[in-house]
């Protein structure tokens, strides 16, 4: 079984600053996916960014980028030029590759989340 650990329960930064959220995970799998989800007060789960473990290049999506360190099993999220709308809970999540889940749908394993507050 895999586990996902987010060691920062809450973080607060000023608008326009850069912030990095940490995530570590534990798995015996070699092929898998990692995700960052955003959950604003509306409760909606929004996919921020996705990384495939077999790709060495770090994923980027506009102001969001990740630092994926496979050997260290670390997957941090960097938010540049933070905006008030970035205030939310952020969850790191893991999914097995389809090959390792018997081609089935194992679902996502989530960390406990980091509450990010962007101050004006």
């Amino acid at each position: 079984a895999q586990t996902v650990t987010q060691s920062q329960p809450e973080m607060s930064v000023q608008e326009a600053e850069t912030v990095t959220l940490s995530c570590t995970y534990d798995t015996s799998e070699n092929n898998y996916y990692l995700f960052w989800y955003k959950q604003p007060p509306s409760r909606q789960m929004i996919l921020v960014i996705r990384q495939e473990a077999y790709k060495q290049q770090n994923a980027t999506e506009n102001r969001f980028s990740v630092n994926f360190q496979k050997a260290a099993k670390s997957f941090s999220l960097k938010i540049s030029d933070s905006q008030l709308g970035d205030t939310a809970m952020y969850f790191c999540a893991f999914m097995k590759h389809a090959i390792n889940s018997g081609g089935g749908a194992d679902g996502l394993t989530f960390g406990k989340g980091t509450h990010l507050i962007i101050q004006p």
Partner: protein, 113 residues
């Protein structure tokens, strides 16, 4: 495009009562999931389904049942509700070919008193 629709959005149950949380998706997705989110925690997988007639247990299935008679619907049944089942419940779906792109419903906040 409705996406994933959950009903109800809120519900209060008394201990021992039963209820069904409804989930329907209009994207013709094969894969559907039920998660629960306890206060201050991430989501945990309750049950999932890879297609009509096929369901399987996730990490926390005790106290719940599911069925998948159609591709669109994946209801979650709570029998004999307990305070430990107070949580926010999320339904999600994805296609088999793009299983990393999960679409989530808005969630159902359930309180058992």
């Amino acid at each position: 495009n409705a996406g994933v629709t959950q009903t109800p959005k809120f519900r209060i149950l008394k201990i021992g009562q039963s209820m069904t949380l409804q989930c329907t998706q209009d994207m013709n997705h094969n894969y559907m999931y039920w998660y629960r989110q306890d206060p201050g925690m991430g989501l945990k997988l309750i049950y999932y389904s890879v297609g009509a007639g096929i369901t399987d247990k996730g990490e926390v299935p005790n106290g719940y049942n599911v069925s998948r008679s159609t591709t669109e619907d994946f209801p979650l049944r709570l029998e004999l509700a307990a305070p430990s089942q107070t949580s926010v419940y999320f339904c999600a779906s994805s296609s088999a070919s793009r299983r990393t792109e999960a679409f989530f419903g808005q969630g159902t906040r359930l309180t058992v008193v």
